[in-house]
Symmetry: C2
Amino acid sequence: MGKKRVVIVGGVAGGATCAARLRRLDENAEIVVLDRGHYVSFANCGLPYYVGNVIQEEAKLLLATPAFFKEVFCIDVRTRNEVTAIDREARTLSVRDLETGREYRESYDALVLSPGAAPICPPWPGVDLPGIFTLRTVPDSREIKHWIETRKPNRAVVVGGGFIGLEMAENLAHRGIDVTIVELANQVMPPLDPEMAEYAKQRLESHGVNLSLGDGVAEFAQGSNESLIVRTQGGAAFDADLVVLAIGVRPETNLARDASLEMGQRGGIRVDSQMRTSDPHIWAVGDAVEVRNRVTSQWELVPLAGPANRQGRAAADAICGREVRFDGVQATAVCGFFGLTVALTGATEKALHRAEMKDYLSIYLHPNQHVGYYPGAQAIHLKLLFRKSDGRVLGAQGVGEEGVERRIDVIANAIQMKATVFDLEEAELCYAPQYGAAKDPVNLAGMIAANVLRGDADLAPWNDLDSTLAFLLDVREPHEFNAGSIPDSVNIPLGQLRLRLRELSQSEEIWVTCGVGQRAYYACRILAQHGFRARNLSGGYSTFRVLHPLGIRQTLVL
Amino acid sequence: MGKKRVVIVGGVAGGATCAARLRRLDENAEIVVLDRGHYVSFANCGLPYYVGNVIQEEAKLLLATPAFFKEVFCIDVRTRNEVTAIDREARTLSVRDLETGREYRESYDALVLSPGAAPICPPWPGVDLPGIFTLRTVPDSREIKHWIETRKPNRAVVVGGGFIGLEMAENLAHRGIDVTIVELANQVMPPLDPEMAEYAKQRLESHGVNLSLGDGVAEFAQGSNESLIVRTQGGAAFDADLVVLAIGVRPETNLARDASLEMGQRGGIRVDSQMRTSDPHIWAVGDAVEVRNRVTSQWELVPLAGPANRQGRAAADAICGREVRFDGVQATAVCGFFGLTVALTGATEKALHRAEMKDYLSIYLHPNQHVGYYPGAQAIHLKLLFRKSDGRVLGAQGVGEEGVERRIDVIANAIQMKATVFDLEEAELCYAPQYGAAKDPVNLAGMIAANVLRGDADLAPWNDLDSTLAFLLDVREPHEFNAGSIPDSVNIPLGQLRLRLRELSQSEEIWVTCGVGQRAYYACRILAQHGFRARNLSGGYSTFRVLHPLGIRQTLVL
């Protein structure tokens, strides 16, 4: 067998990883990377921070240059070379050199498509006006920076309240710009369950970010003094000196479609577990492909760098004849802004609904990141989803100041390893006063969930709080209760409960609440053993506040 | 069946947890906690920080008072009540009230021993001199604080360089006291492998802590001006105004021994997986019992709060007739001082040697806690141990400024779930620029290990570097090489390697090194495919420096 010729289309994340891995596996292969952009292997996750001047040198964003690929890997990287068509029969590509206009053909034994995804940019009136940007490439970020430095904008509108939108909002605020986020959904961070996104919303507002949720952009118009006007479908109008569109991305699939490769229902390229497309000589990786969710088994588009890298590696292994199986993604993600960390892994409740998976329960908890007696203890707000039938961990979301990504990472590993909540109970994690607690938040999540599954603690469904006829019992101390409580709840402090059982009725269900759910759990144990039907409103008043931002018994729709 | 009477001896950590859990499971049980100390359920892990004034209020150390136990749990907690004997036949205890001198008997249906462990205090001459303290209880810490505040010591000697010793050293330094640590072992943090402890040593020294390693205390003597003299077996003498003994702890087993309960080889109480002793009516939990190591299956004494809590819970479940199985400990631990975090989980190389487990390999790596292009990137030094035959993760040790406990926690969960290094490769963890990397340190550890197991990268044994005849090839850039390199190594930068292959011989083994092992891996792949026998010195020059603190080819004994 002669030298294998592998051509990779797209040299960022998945493509770059695939190329380097191919070389390590096959010193003799001819490896060509074609990218229509100016740069390969750049740090696209760093772009918002480059705009915000947190990352100050543009050179830092360039992780590996074509010269580096040449020297270290003997890989022929050609930027500004766009592949315009695939001839699957002949196994050749049509390529255009965007600098010279020259068109040429390139042959392959194996082809890897790693074209990535492009920012969504709807055809809104005025969307081409100067001062309106998307952010996907180094030149994009350079343009925004240049605009900021020359126009010195005072007000920016970020369209889209997803992860990139929030990172942009923070970075623009960091440069002294007033920011408004316009988001079509009723919440920021649409991948999260809405009540968990509520924490993010509050943090943004407390840092002066103006939020316009549940309202989409209608059009952009030129205002006075070179400013822009962003008009929404709901009739609002925001003045802006700068607009960044961060609505999301769509997979770049033109090449694959034109070549009649099989596509998935979500609009991505369909691949098998070797990352192979419907053409046995063509692989595809990264943001352009659909992947199976490890938890829901649904096909999804998950434009994240970690999975893209793993896919690139898997494709290289497959091309070199190695046994390999890409086992899907669990969409672990983290986002930080204004001191808050928001992270998630596995399925959200939304995702379970979409997948029509009904065999699950959720709990809320609000443990500190480390023991309360060590200075600086602050709550991590956690939501854990697990299978009702066997306790398998399905997903987790966390929000807090410190230690959030750590707990979500542990749970991410647990999901990967098919752990149950009973395993989380027994996890043996790092503990010293400044690092955690003898019962780590992960242990607590496992214990609370396991208590439910063992029948030791019945949960009351938060979703039904608006309509329930249950007796609402709050077992906090009076001073806590008086500072704020669930409407219509009755206060009996935990320490008095046994003495005041006669105030309660065994004929009606009692929903018990406290600060974070712990004392309510104790109370439920007492009540259950005295013949009462008691259920815990998991997460207590801390959860009530976020599920009921108006303070009344009208629950956020989950 | 009437009311079950459960008596618990010792009300800290395991005992307190057991008591509270018992109440939750059985509202009718009579639960009595007897503790000879002044406090139950106090934060012993916080004591060094209380001495250091990091934790300022003593009340914060008291997690739950007897009044709280009474009010919330209906548990009868009696501090300053010492159990002096167990009559197993009659199922009664002899108790002495230390305040009044009254002696009485207490009966039990189930007895839980949670006596903890006592500081080791050898009968050194002068060990009773004023100014010499141990630290295990709130009154202990109060005495040390009082000594510091009234005597204003300038110089302290901490005997013992384990976790508590280092925490004490930091906290005394924090109060402006010059600290010397005297440690019998040749390293600080004896649970760690010596080369990983080297990072801790360097950090202590760079913060002005004086270390006397490999030398034990011989005696204490009174010096002038009320000072003390600490004389070592090696003939050294240190002046001190304050001495803290932090040599370790020994299980409190007098009661159990006197009652002829079965003891283990390590001097702890022997229990089964329900935490039951050799007497079917007596359970034991916490620092006083021996536990099976999850990785090595050896019996061990592991005086840690997390496992103690889990054991207390397990004992309560067992007493209430629940199915339960305590599956051992993996000795996950973390310690922080002078900005450094040191953490470990599972087996160390030392522990594998002790257990005579030879089917293992180790790798070193030095990844940043987050991407290098985001400001503040700093190395985490990691050592991963895994089974050679099937890749099972056996243990990990990590040292660094940030994110260490997070990676060790993920690996802790992986060990618990019996994960392999191939699973670590595929772990999907939180990534955004300020939180990690698309290839997280955990992924990298998995990849490096998996490359070895797949035969893609042969490791050179660091232990043999002193004696090897292999050709040492350093593939870093010349400026890096010139700034420091392994003696006798030859520099060919990676980018020139393919062009200079004729400078190498196929007849001798080539050991390849670089900065952290990555370029050496690339080089090994090139060399192997060109017919050379190449092996990677894992962790590169970063590992060399710590294994060879003198800069010569004389390796720390592992």
